[in-house]
């Protein structure tokens, strides 16, 4: 028998040694292990397909999923709290840089808005008086809705997904179709529209954002109520919207604020959009004689990919709930 060096290499071990290897563990490589491996993976893939089918075709797993989401909630809240100091630090620096840049611009805007406010207050008073005199009943407003405040548990996870998970569910009175706004989105406190509830469990709900392909909201121009169209996702850049179906005639200006027109939805997912919730501002518009409608791009007032908290507007009893 040949002598084998103590620090032998694999090559020597394979080609020149008769020493038996120790009992193996770790990566399996025998035929039986390969079969076992394939069976396990096959079962997991099959189980995934079964889960997809059941989850997609029926609501049998909704309860389990809701319980799972509820069980995850404390951990998500804890992770949020741990990350908050870092987030606040980043936000502070970001805010500081932004504040310096915007200071001069905002001072000029304040002067303009002060003049406009005086004019608007007179118009509002006149409006109230005329409505009372005519006994006018308009579309539902934000005041007709009960507000449910909720924290966002999970923001969109990738560029395809356009939903957020929030910490409020049917136990809080939230139902499918309820309107969801972001509280800091507009300066007057009405919030900026971000979407509607499309899935509800007892304590957690999912919100379909305005940028979801299935989303559409009847909207109008704040300064020109004859402009009525439908706000839809803009495609391309995930955070842009278009105001669709606006005829060529009414004039739209860049910088105009787009608000909800106020509508009562139809069908099984009856939803109510109160009038006057800000959606975004017009960033560009164009029209040509070849088109039937104007091309209006709208920038949402809030960054829909990063939302901290929301308000769910649940219709009060007087509105049919």
């Amino acid at each position: 028998m040949r002598s084998v060096p103590r620090n032998r290499t694999v090559r020597i071990a394979v080609l020149g040694s008769s020493v038996q290897r120790a009992a193996p563990f770790g990566f399996p490589s025998s035929r039986s292990s390969a079969i076992k491996r394939r069976i396990v993976v096959g079962l997991l893939v099959l189980l995934s397909l079964v889960l997809i089918t059941v989850s997609f075709r029926s609501s049998a797993l909704n309860g389990v999923q809701g319980d799972g989401a509820t069980a995850l909630r404390p951990f998500e809240v804890a992770a949020n709290r741990v990350a908050r100091p870092f987030r606040d630090t980043v936000g502070w620096f970001h805010g500081l840089i932004r504040a310096k840049n915007e200071d001069t611009k905002l001072r000029a805007e304040i002067a303009v808005y002060q003049q406009q406010q005086i004019h608007d207050e007179g118009a509002v008073q006149q409006n109230v008086q005329l409505q009372e005199a005519l006994n006018y009943h308009g579309p539902p407003s934000v005041a007709d809705f009960r507000k449910v405040y909720a924290a966002v548990l999970a923001n969109p996870q990738n560029a395809i997904q356009e939903t957020v998970t929030i910490h409020a569910g049917s136990g809080d009175g939230v139902q499918v179709g309820d309107v969801v706004v972001e509280p800091t989105g507009s300066p007057d406190g009405t919030g900026a529209l971000i979407g509607t509830v499309d899935y509800v469990t007892h304590s957690v709900s999912r919100v379909m954002l305005l940028t979801d392909d299935d989303s559409a909201v009847t909207a109008t121009d704040l300064t020109n109520s004859s402009v009525i169209g439908s706000v839809r996702p803009g495609g391309g850049n995930g955070n842009s919207l278009i105001l669709d179906r606006v005829p060529l005639k009414p004039a739209v200006q860049d910088g105009d604020t787009i608000i909800t027109a106020g509508s009562l939805g139809d069908g099984p997912l009856k939803s109510m959009y109160p009038r006057g919730i800000p959606i975004g501002t017009v960033t560009s518009h164009s029209n040509s004689d070849a088109d039937l409608f104007q091309n209006i791009l709208v920038q949402p007032l809030v960054d829909l990919s990063s939302i901290q908290s929301v308000i769910v507007l649940t219709p009060s009893k007087s509105l049919g709930r």
Binding site: R21, V40, V45, S48, A154, A159, I160, T201
Partner: protein, 170 residues
């Protein structure tokens, strides 16, 4: 012990993904769960990767109230495939984790797109394609620290432990 450690690490990655990373617009396309899963699969093999992928996918689908099974299916296949790569050609190669993350990030995005399309859900291909370079870059940046941490937690098995049989020649 390995399974417990992997479960803990993947759960923390899930929480980071669900609650922290996606709050920053710049990091929205990154997937720390995918990077952690691939690192563990590379170091612990195909079966470990597949089971870990299935479980973590289920947690993500539950946390986001998405269609159950979609992420599980994608991550099961990803974990198995990269685990197999780790068992065979990727041994001790520096570029293995980076190559794995780059390839799987692309396949994961398109796989998700295809599944959404098949299920009749919105599948904006343009958004997916636009987000791909960012996702690729961020995931590759995450790979270095994540794989280093994974190597400490799951030390690579010695070559002698991997080889079951030695054929003696001569």
């Amino acid at each position: 012990m390995n399974a417990l450690k992997a479960a803990f690490v993947l759960f923390v990655a899930c929480l980071l993904q669900l609650s922290v990373l996606t709050e920053y617009h710049a990091f929205r396309t990154a997937s720390i769960v995918l990077v952690v899963l691939l690192s563990i699969a590379l170091l612990r093999g195909s079966m470990f990767g597949a089971i870990a992928g299935f479980t973590v996918g289920l947690v993500l689908d539950t946390g986001t109230l998405g269609t159950l099974g979609v992420t599980s299916l994608l991550l099961t296949v990803a974990g198995f495939w990269i685990g197999r790569y780790g068992e065979t050609t990727a041994r001790d190669r520096f570029h293995a984790p980076f190559l794995s993350v780059a390839v799987v990030t692309c396949l994961y995005v398109f796989g998700q797109l295809i599944l959404q399309f098949v299920l009749g859900q919105p599948a904006p291909a343009d958004s997916a394609v636009h987000s791909l370079p960012g996702a690729l870059l961020l995931n590759l940046l995450l790979t270095l620290p994540v794989y280093a941490l994974a190597r400490r937690l799951f030390p690579p098995l010695e070559l002698g432990d991997r080889v079951r049989e030695v054929r003696l020649l001569g």
